[in-house]
Point group: D2
Chain length 294, copies 4
């Protein structure tokens, strides 16, 4: 396929390589062009602008950091709306809010373009291995047309239906279930510590039984080791996503008390200076709230 790719951050770069590796014709664009060097070497064309990138593309993938960047790239002067040919598909793969995706869907429809939302599950290492989970939503034909790309990048797709923002709801939900698990563990470690229990013991109990899954093994281990400076995902990014969850809940009219609990813990952690640490640092913030770890 003739593919454009915008957003060559830690995730995007790896995803673009997989597309290239899948035999597709790839044009890339990044605001800071240096990040495109690797891909150029590997055979991708580097476009000097979004407008140039859009020329003769069937599909343009965006993998951007936040809603503001996505909006700018799509509706800014010379952006996707202005540059994509009629019938072209914009595949939005970043973690975005339901509101912006809903708005941009309408924007593209008005311009006879198609928006498919397809957020991904997995970290950069999974992206580099072509092992992302992909959650596509949008018009059936368009999603189907994108399948070869998803196969190049992922281990499988989870069909989220016709409403593009539904894919984002799933992605955000998966994130918030993780946030809840981390907060639950944070509370758990503080409680047993007060009974002179070694954190390792609780970790073994949990991960050796009901909770033998990455969410608990990875984040529980960080808590046991207090290795919060070895950052996978920052507290600030956790808050950004929590706020997107709140937005999705607001739009849908769903109270989410467990999300409130961990979002408050994130706010407290940031207030105490842990914003750039791994978001497992909720355990430290919970400890503070419990009179532990001064």
């Amino acid at each position: 396929m003739k593919v454009g790719f915008i957003g060559l951050g830690r995730m995007g770069r790896e995803m673009a390589k997989q597309i290239l590796g899948g035999g597709h014709e790839l044009v890339v664009y990044n605001r800071t062009p240096e990040k495109a060097a690797d891909l150029a070497t590997a055979g991708a064309t580097v476009a000097p602008s979004i407008a140039d990138l859009c020329a003769e593309r069937e599909v343009v993938v965006t993998m951007l950091a936040d809603d503001a960047a996505l909006e700018e790239v799509t509706t800014g002067a010379g952006g996707l709306r202005d540059s994509m040919a009629s019938g072209t598909i914009h595949v939005v793969m970043g973690t975005h809010g339901v509101k912006i995706v809903h708005v941009l869907d309408a924007v593209h429809q008005k311009s006879n373009q198609i928006l498919v939302s397809a957020p991904v599950l997995g970290r950069p290492d999974a992206a580099a291995a072509g092992q992302l989970g992909i959650v596509p939503a949008g018009p059936v034909a368009a999603v189907s047309q994108c399948k070869p790309l998803f196969e190049a990048m992922g281990r499988g797709t989870f069909d989220a239906g016709l409403r593009p923002e539904a894919a984002n709801a799933i992605k955000l939900t998966n994130n918030f279930v993780l946030g809840c698990a981390i907060e639950a563990m944070a509370e758990a470690f503080s409680l047993v510590r007060k009974y002179d229990v070694q954190p390792e013991v609780l970790f073994d109990v949990m991960t050796g039984g009901l909770f033998s899954a990455p969410a608990y093994k990875v984040y529980g281990k960080i808590m046991v080791d207090e290795s919060y400076d070895n950052v996978g995902f920052t507290t600030l990014l956790g808050l950004k996503d929590a706020n997107l969850v709140m937005e999705a809940a607001d739009v849908a009219r769903v109270p989410l008390p467990s999300v409130n609990a961990y979002r408050d813990r994130l706010l407290g952690a940031i207030a105490h200076g842990d914003g750039e640490r791994d978001w497992a640092v909720m355990a430290r913030e919970q400890a503070r709230a419990s009179g532990l770890d001064g």
Copy 2:
């Protein structure tokens, strides 16, 4: 070893069989003696009273339904305090609160008896297979003395240290982390349903990735199937344990906002008549709170 066993409910019966199968000399007692029939056939002696049971026992195991029963069996007239010989070990294996265990520990010490707390992880099928997880806490020598029993009943032990109530804190904590996971899923399904997502899709996303563990597979499946009448653990028992968690948190001075969230959901479910359903029915209660499922 010469073992006494009190409390032949669904769990206790299976645990006692494993002890017998381990070659120990077993005397059992149950308030309703009919429940001892199986064990009598299998070779256990049935004692007509707690006092009789205690004769010549090195260890007396209790597996009782709640704190009130444990208190009565221990400190009631003719109970363990009055009947156990000096140096005998009372192994408390039920799910009890930290307060009662702390109190009974002092009671036994005063009578030159020893209390070991050793709550178990796993359901009746694990008990029947001798595959329980066991979390012992208490004096080192006494815990060590009980090891053959634990080996007969369990897949392994998780050492909780010297304070007996620490074992209960771990057991209750493991339970509450589960309650938090169930509530998080409950919130998750309500949210995505508002975006027209099939619950199965979210279930696959979660259990195929970060949450590939029994807590999510078992309870998520119940939610997807809405099979709340196939009861593993009732909402009312969930509340009982949540209240024990609150007590442990109160004693330890630890705020547990995530526990609040799921405890409130349990209260709401019971208020709506779902007390005897499986506690995964939190998902239905969350749906109600979200204006779904009337």
Copy 3:
């Protein structure tokens, strides 16, 4: 009337004086008899035991510190159950839980005695002025019979109906609405301080408008002045009552998320060593949770 009074603490002493001042024949009892000296001087008879106090009494008032004391005084050997004549009324005026009141109501009924629950609103100064609010509940005739006593002690009564524990539900509810107001203010002051607002300004805005009531004026002032060592009601007592509220909510199957919020703040405050300070110290604990006041 022929009145017995048990429990001469800060509140009870003043209430007993008002009864005496109302022209009633008063016999008093206190575990530590020195506290009865004032009342003896004022004309009350001091009984050497509860049994002696009960002789020829129409009504026995208890004003005790907690549920355990109430239970002991009522059902302990030589207590009210054993000593009150048939038809005598036990007026329970302390702040107690719904469970114990319900249990003791049944205890008295079985002994042909009557329990009226009548918790009070107001602090020792209101008690000393005979200006307490009184919330009676129980059998109509018995409540009616007690009216002269209530008139001696109070500014008015609020009829809570036939179920004695309903009076306690009201008293506890009034307390928890106060706890919620204090927590709301605590959150409020932390938030505006982050915007460089002087706490006094917010205090003036609140108490000069929608919140021109003692709850806000008294506790808001303590927060503005940070005069937490001038103790009206300790954090530990606040937690005791919050736990009774949780019990009432548990019995009634009512989720109370706002109570969770302030109860957690109390736990945090106690964990940080503020248990004996005025419970307005929730503001300091909230500030800690917000990264203020280290």
Copy 4:
């Protein structure tokens, strides 16, 4: 003074009349010009556009419904930024978020204009009586220059300091303390109803004592009467403000658990179709969550 006024809704209209009544020279603008008829009759000039309104104004007041309207009026083509002369003051009197005020403050500074934020306390009847509370923040000289206007409209000012968004923080905080009080009452009524207490009794207990203030008298009365269709402030507006509170808390890094509690209740009420009822309808939503009022 030479004053412009934009936004003649229920509040704005009354405020503009007070300015006119104070002897100031007033030009008004409203998107739907019909709403300006009254004011024209009363002596105000009606401007056909924002640009026209700005001519020769010392001060331009805006009283707009939401952040989007404020942003459009200020930064849209032909808006205040483009039209106000250097040194002119924009007095923002609506209830807006801290973010937008902070952003527009910078916008005006860049154009050598001045932003003063001055949200108001009180309902339309207070506005009509010139009895609003006013919370101004911004540069000292500019705030001082606006004093005659504030005197025309209000009963007094509460000085919020130099940062314009601080005034909004105070206004939003005052609102959220109210939301917390309403939610606390909502929980309170559900709890006592389960003990067969008449809501009026609790209302009398509360408002006759610690809570003898408008917040409780007005909203408690609505709950007792269940007169939710007599709307002062809708649930949807309550949610809008709650979201602005969350934003302010997010910016400031302050966890607000009590706000979470009432915001969730608002979401539930809206999910159940009560969005256009008075926000005291939280009591009905709480009753639903408690298994009352089906």
